[in-house]
Amino acid sequence: MNPFVLSILLLSLGLGTTLTFASSHWLLAWMGLEISTLAIIPLMAQHHHPRAVEATTKYFITQAAAAALILFASTTNAWITGQWDINFNLHAFPASLLTMALALKMGLAPVHFWLPEVLQGLDLTTGLILSTWQKLAPFILMCQIMPVNSSLITFLGIASTLVGGWGGLNQTQLRKILAYSSIAHLGWMVLVMQFNQQLALLALVIYIPMTFSTFMIFKTNSSTTMNTLAASWAKTPALTAITPLVLLSLGGLPPLSGFMPKWMILQELTKQDIPLTASVAALSALFSLYFYLRISYAMTLTISPNNLNATTPWRLQTTSSTLPLAISTTISAMLLPLAPATLALLSP
């Protein structure tokens, strides 16, 4: 792609999300969402491949419908209350409509069906943008409307954690697994969002470097299925050893930083006296842990048969920069001792 076009697209991607962050007016927030959707579409369709075009079409239809629904809900709110402010308390019906529209935009559970298919059709870099940066704007909007229909939010969260665990179980495609893991993590964030938005933000802030490092690891190995990961020990031995840490951090095992949000969310849910929701969420994390463990097993704990000539590509100098990957892996493995500082950083 032409670098001028690429820079304009990336800048509009940033502009859209920033506009949504900064706006206190629903129309402006909608414009930000539209700008970021329209800016990523050429990035997704840049390879003229049937899969990429199909993924772009599916993404476009769902995002356009969700954006129209957001604008419809805010217009209805304006017709009823005469207010366009985001921070103003919403009427109950537009609030539920907005929650569902934002859930469709992020890919939460009953309306998540587009996310695995869209992510499957993209290359890993665009998929990384889709599963991190594009989630920010709807997430912040959802945080801002938050004291809404509590049972709907709890249903969305529980369904997302369950579906995110269940859907990934039988997958061998890494991008689909990552899509389901994204659904499950967003479910955790939504679950705690109505009680403590700081914790939801913390979970998002921890989720982003973990997903970044996972996508970058797969990109370094240029692998999109579990089979090809088995040969990574010959290509990048150090990364092969570190990958289980990142994956188990995504799964939420204790000494790693992915444990921090899950720990605090479970504590908050227990404090709010809803132990049933907390236990269902905690048990559904086991499903996710299973498929992360399976990737780790296929990649690290087995040595696949290889011929002698192909065992030494790790000696070759790599041309790509490894600094971002190094930083994000360190963050996603070792942030747990800094939990109080991270929480203090996010406090209002």
């Binding site: 129309l27 329209l38 579409i41 369709a45 075009v53 239809i61 419908a65």
Partner: protein, 98 residues
């Protein structure tokens, strides 16, 4: 709920129902999206007319501009889908399932 509001809401919801349940052609999905946006355009203009909020009279135009951009992106994707899949049937968009 005033009759005007009811009419606009049902027009929008009819478009949404069409998008969700009538899944034959990509073109008809794009037309449903456009119908939704036009219902929103009328809702925004009537809102600013009814409340005499002259500051909001640019809002429908801005919204219309954005929906035109969206419609052109949708038509471009229609062309791209016709080139890669050979048809605009939504049933043929099945490469990514598994």
């Amino acid at each position: 709920m005033t009759p005007t509001h009811f009419t606009i809401s049902s027009a929008f919801l009819l478009g949404l129902m069409g998008l969700a349940f009538h899944r034959t052609h990509l073109l008809s999905a794009l037309l449903c999206l456009e119908a939704m946006m036009l219902a929103l355009f009328i809702a925004l203009s009537l809102w600013s007319l009814q409340l005499d909020a002259t500051g909001y009279s640019t809002a429908p135009m801005l919204m219309l501009a954005f929906s035109a951009c969206e419609a052109s992106a949708g038509l471009a994707l229609l062309v791209a889908t016709a080139r890669t899949h050979g048809t605009d049937h939504l049933q043929n968009l099945n490469l990514l399932q598994c």
